[in-house]
């Protein structure tokens, strides 16, 4: 069943400067889709169109059977949340607690439930000790964890992670990725925008954007091995797969080594 249906989506920030053109794809309920692409490929524009922060010039976005429009945008935002790359641009609260509460207040969640969720999600991202602190007192990675907690607390069906781990340290990145995995396991639909191949490995399917159009969409395994597609969008093969590819080119074939490299690339 489709959670999201995108048809012929097009958008320009300025005349003659096409950010997205004729983008069509579906995301299934419970699926984890990675959107890969170079800087300026239209990835973030696409995510903003999905949550109605931008209005498309052409095409349509359907979320859970509802077509996105000015009338439905608030309903749809109850179903789809977004975590951006730079947490400084998404802080609204005076304290960490206020910040996590903000989205819940918009959803008119009752106070007892709200406090319960704040505690629960702050603890999941390991920020319980910071609940009374001002956002300014936090480092970039800590801010990002708060932003993630705020979206998670809204318990939406779909969460878009728009390069949300790009600013985190290795440990923070792993923690967040593990948590996304758990969310996806319990049925949350995940759309992850990234150019980190190690994150793409975790998804069910990958869509590659290039200069505002869909270059390719397919099962993760196929795209991970598609050197030509990846490199034409400024991306790279995972190192074990790069090694595998190069050895194949030189006619060095050891099936056992090949299988080993493949397994290794799935466990980065």
């Amino acid at each position: 069943m489709n959670m999201i249906e995108i048809k012929n989506l097009g958008f320009s920030y300025q005349k003659d400067d096409v950010a997205l053109s004729d983008v069509s794809f579906n995301v299934q309920k419970g699926e984890w889709l990675t959107i890969l692409g170079h800087n300026g490929s239209g990835k973030s524009t696409l995510s903003k169109l999905l949550v109605g922060l931008l209005k498309p010039n052409n095409g349509s976005v359907v979320v859970d059977g509802q077509t996105l429009s000015e009338e439905t945008v608030y309903d749809i935002r109850k179903k789809i949340g977004i975590v951006f790359q730079n947490p400084d641009n998404q802080f609204v609260g005076v304290t960490v607690k206020d910040d996590i509460a903000f989205g819940l207040e918009n959803l008119q969640i009752e106070r007892d439930e709200m406090l319960k969720r704040i505690d629960e999600y702050a603890s999941r991202v390991d920020m319980t000790d910071f609940l009374e602190k001002e956002p300014q007192a936090l480092s970039g990675g800590q801010k990002q964890r708060v932003a993630i907690a705020g979206i998670l607390a809204m318990q939406t069906d779909v969460i878009i992670f728009d390069e949300s781990t790009a600013m985190l340290d290795p440990k923070g990145r792993k923690e967040i990725l593990n948590y996304i995995k758990k969310l996806n396991d319990v049925g949350v639909t995940v759309i992850m925008i990234t150019h980190d191949m190690r994150e793409a490995v975790l998804s069910d399917r990958i869509l590659v954007l290039k200069e505002g159009h869909v270059l390719k969409i397919g099962p993760t395994k196929d795209i991970l091995l598609d050197k030509e597609t990846l490199e034409s969008s400024n991306l790279e093969l995972l190192l074990p797969l790069e090694v595998m590819h190069t050895l194949e080119q030189k006619n060095i074939n050891y099936p056992k080594l090949k299988e080993f490299l493949w397994q290794l690339s799935l466990n980065t």
Binding site: N39, G140, P170, P240, V243, L247
Partner: protein, 287 residues
């Protein structure tokens, strides 16, 4: 020694008056020429606070620093007569997301702003803008463009050019490649490496990318909870104990090398720092 820290500590003030110790007794020395250093550490470990001391944007609450012969202590009385401007000129600091700080109508004006601020005349500043834009790998046509219509990677390059135009001896960059796609990241790292090799400048980069640490740096500093816990060779850094104790990510190259050595008993000893070297060795061994 261009920068020397002796027992430098720094305590941030906080609303609850408890304060927060961001740097704890840091001793470090940095040469004014020829070093390529990476600075790593978890979020909140004090990396940004440390580099903000290196050009005296922050001054220690304990300990003392000597930056290009200028002494700075923790006593505001003693610091009163310190001239900070020369330090800011000699130690160029590029903040995280410098692209948000672009503000002029044209790229050229933006790059000229820094040097003019330090008393360089219009003509010289223009000349430096042309040189700096070339150094960051953009052609001169960019000078006439508005900085706001550039891509993220281009904006980063322009803001770095703005610092280069001040002709600092030491260039410090706070997470310069975060948010860039792989090709953009590699291109920018090459820019820094070229600045380091062709101008023999010292470059210090804060990063979370262990591949960058392993492939480029000859010296790595590790911060942990405000303390400098490692200062030395990146190759020795990634031993089992350090990785476990300090939550380090292992560089892809090391991970793959170790896996292949264990599984296939391949001899991959010696210095293999990058993809090219690894592929070359594997070809020799397997063909």
């Amino acid at each position: 020694m261009a920068i020397k820290f002796e027992h430098v500590s720094f305590q941030y003030k906080s609303i609850d008056n408890k304060g927060y110790l961001a740097l704890n007794e840091v001793n470090v020395a940095i040469e004014n020429k020829g070093e390529f250093i990476t600075l790593i550490g978890e979020t909140g470990s004090g990396k940004s606070t440390l580099v903000q001391h290196m050009n005296a944007l922050l001054t220690p609450t304990k300990g003392a620093m000597n930056i290009f012969g200028i002494k700075i202590s923790s006593k505001s009385k003693e610091n009163k007569n310190v001239k900070f401007n020369p330090i800011r000129k000699q130690v160029g600091l590029v903040f995280q997301f410098p692209e948000y700080q672009l503000f002029e109508e044209t790229v050229e004006k933006d790059i000229m702003f820094g040097p003019k601020n330090f008393g360089v005349n219009e003509r010289e500043a223009k000349k430096r803008a042309r040189e700096a834009i070339a150094m960051v790998g953009l052609d001169e046509s960019y000078l006439e463009r508005s900085p706001f219509n550039l891509s993220g990677g281009e904006k980063k390059r322009v803001s770095i050019a703005g610092i280069l135009a001040m002709e600092p001896d030491i260039l410090i960059l706070d997470e310069p490649t975060s948010g860039l796609d792989p090709r953009g990241r590699d291109a920018l790292l090459k820019v820094f490496y070229d600045i380091h090799t062709s101008l023999n400048k010292t470059v210090l980069i804060i990063t979370h990318d262990m591949n960058t640490v392993y492939e480029y740096a000859r010296r790595v500093l590790v911060m942990r909870e405000g303390e400098l816990v490692y200062d030395g060779d990146p190759v020795k850094l990634f031993s089992r104990t350090n990785v476990d104790n300090w939550n380090l990510d292992v560089p892809d190259i090391i991970r793959l090398k170790q896996a292949l050595e264990t599984e296939f008993k391949l001899d991959l000893s010696g210095t293999i720092r990058n993809k090219q070297a690894l592929l070359k060795r594997l070809e020799e061994l397997l063909s």
